[in-house]
Amino acid sequence: MNITATTAANVTASTLATGKRKDRNTSSLIFMGALWFSMFFGVAVLAALILDTALSGAGRFDSQLLFDYESTVRKEETGFRAGILGTIWLMLATALLAIPVGIATAVHLEEFADRTAWYSKVIEVNLQNLAAVPSIIYGMLAAAIMGLLGFTYKGIVLGGAIALGLLILPVIIIATREALRAVPQDIRQGSLALGATTWQTTWRQTLPSAIPGIATGTILGLSRAVGEAAPLLMLGVATVRFDPTSVLDKVTALPLQIYSLASAPQEALQEAASAAIILLLALIIGMNAVAIFIRNKFQRSW
């Protein structure tokens, strides 16, 4: 009995200590290498790009970049004041247009609409596709809307906000729907079983619970809109040299100003454009950081 036990133990020990690791064989290592290379390639290209831009704009990280107007005369002091303010105006107007409509659409689709109806399915498919539509198409759509509204000059805050709002509407709708879906059915049923109406349940239970998700999605949508130039170009948004004071004022945006200065022949203007690119990147990273912060802080485990 004793001998058998000892033998069995030895057999186990010898078979376990093979000195090799099966998940470190040649094909595994090659595959692992391919994965590493792919990851490194993507990150390295991005890093090189950012570094190159930052270096070429290095001389222009000054207050004039932020607070001065664009100038082709005093090239070394040209600034992005109009673009920065324009972008802020555009973002506020876009948010005001897109957030209420987007949330309302998502609430209707998730909480009230008959999902089996054909029109719900049509809307469903369209929403998924809208998120993939090239942004310039939204510029054309906004130009058409502005035309219908009777504006001859379309490069104003309202026009830009319509274009960018339409652009991020699908993003907001999809994010809000996800957030609403994450609220457990138990909560809705508990509320309905107490004699609350569907409307009360949505307004007092489902929506408040979904707010962190909605906020995150909305900010990510806006941070996409911040970097957009194509739909604004379509509207004829040009570079201007004053601060907008109403939604009907002419406006420019940071990406557009970058676009026009980066293609200028003067080296000083190109340098300023590089600096502004880093500024725009920082803005977008900041917005995404806020979104991630909200998501982590208010994340609820049910």
Binding site: G190, A193, L194, A196
Partner: protein, 294 residues
């Protein structure tokens, strides 16, 4: 197996307050059928799209009685329960035939508002589902949304929590999140929340299935206290629980369709709990009670 009731008297971690726990005779002196039923179910058939989920159920629920619905999984007992306050309306494709009456009013009549039905017939769910709010706001939610005239919300909250035997445990933390409570406390909070809207009937869908034995026995004690004011209908997987708490028991089973294999639930036997557990008429009930099936 006539001994099952006796053996189930063994209280799980609860004070053996048998006079209280086991309501006067618990069935033996009950009339054979509920004399003045609060709710009746007549020839109830439930369908989910083409699927026939429940076949021809007839039940009557006596005032201030506890009625248990037992049976194997998929026998339609929860479906029947959810038909009693029209929560089944929320399931897409659900369709109900037959009659469900509450004080002789058909709750499925065209003019009946399901919201009003649910204000009279409250429901406690399988998994405790407190709202992500404070304990106080959980209780106050029902009265607020239904527009109940409340003289003092503080008093109503206290009264409801006392009725649910939770007041002493939470009175110092009413403003804290309900999520901080234990599972059993959360379930009693859900019962308190239901009581706060002053319903007539309380439906309980396996209210103890996610709770430990101590929390379970607290809920069972609570049901005994609540019976003097409410009519309680409980679905349970736990036969001993049905035997311990109920006056009448309905035993359901599932019958597979010969062609599709879909299981349709049907009522096998409905009688006083003592009869169901000690002297059932139907052999299927006997098999289930004795553990030979299910």
């Amino acid at each position: 197996m006539t001994n099952l009731r006796a053996s189930s008297h063994f209280p799980v971690g609860a004070p053996a307050d048998s006079a209280h726990r086991f309501h006067a005779g618990n069935g033996s002196e009950l009339p054979e059928v509920p004399p003045l039923p609060v709710m009746r179910v007549d020839n109830l058939n439930v369908y989910y799209n083409d699927f026939h989920a429940v076949y021809d159920v007839n039940l009557a629920f006596g005032r201030h009685e506890i009625t248990a619905m037992i049976g194997p999984s998929g026998c339609g007992k929860s479906t029947v329960l959810r038909c009693l306050n029209r929560m089944n309306d929320l399931v897409p494709g659900a369709r109900v035939e037959g009659e469900v009456t509450y004080h002789d009013q058909d709750i499925y009549a065209a003019k009946v508002d399901p919201i009003a039905v649910r204000q009279h017939i409250g429901m406690v769910f399988q998994k405790p589902n407190p709202f992500p709010k404070s304990i106080y706001d959980n209780i106050a939610y029902g009265p607020r949304v239904t527009g109940m005239k409340v003289e003092s919300m503080d008093d109503l909250v206290e009264e409801s929590l006392r009725s649910a035997a939770l007041w002493d445990e939470v009175k110092d933390k009413l403003k804290q999140s309900a999520f901080g409570l234990s599972g059993g406390q959360q379930q009693r909070l859900c019962i308190a929340r239901t009581i706060a809207t002053k319903p007539d009937v309380i439906l309980m869908d396996e209210p103890c299935s996610s709770l430990d034995p101590i929390a379970t026995s607290k809920i069972e004690d609570l049901m005994q206290q609540l019976r003097s004011d409410y009519t309680i209908i409980i679905v349970t997987h736990n036969m001993q629980q049905a035997a311990r708490v109920s006056d009448r028991t309905a035993f359901f089973t599932a019958r597979p369709d010969e062609t599709t294999g879909n299981r349709t639930g049907l009522l096998v036997e409905f009688d006083r709990t003592t009869v169901i557990f000690e002297n059932p008429t139907d052999p299927r009930t006997n098999d289930y009670i004795t553990g030979r099936f299910g």
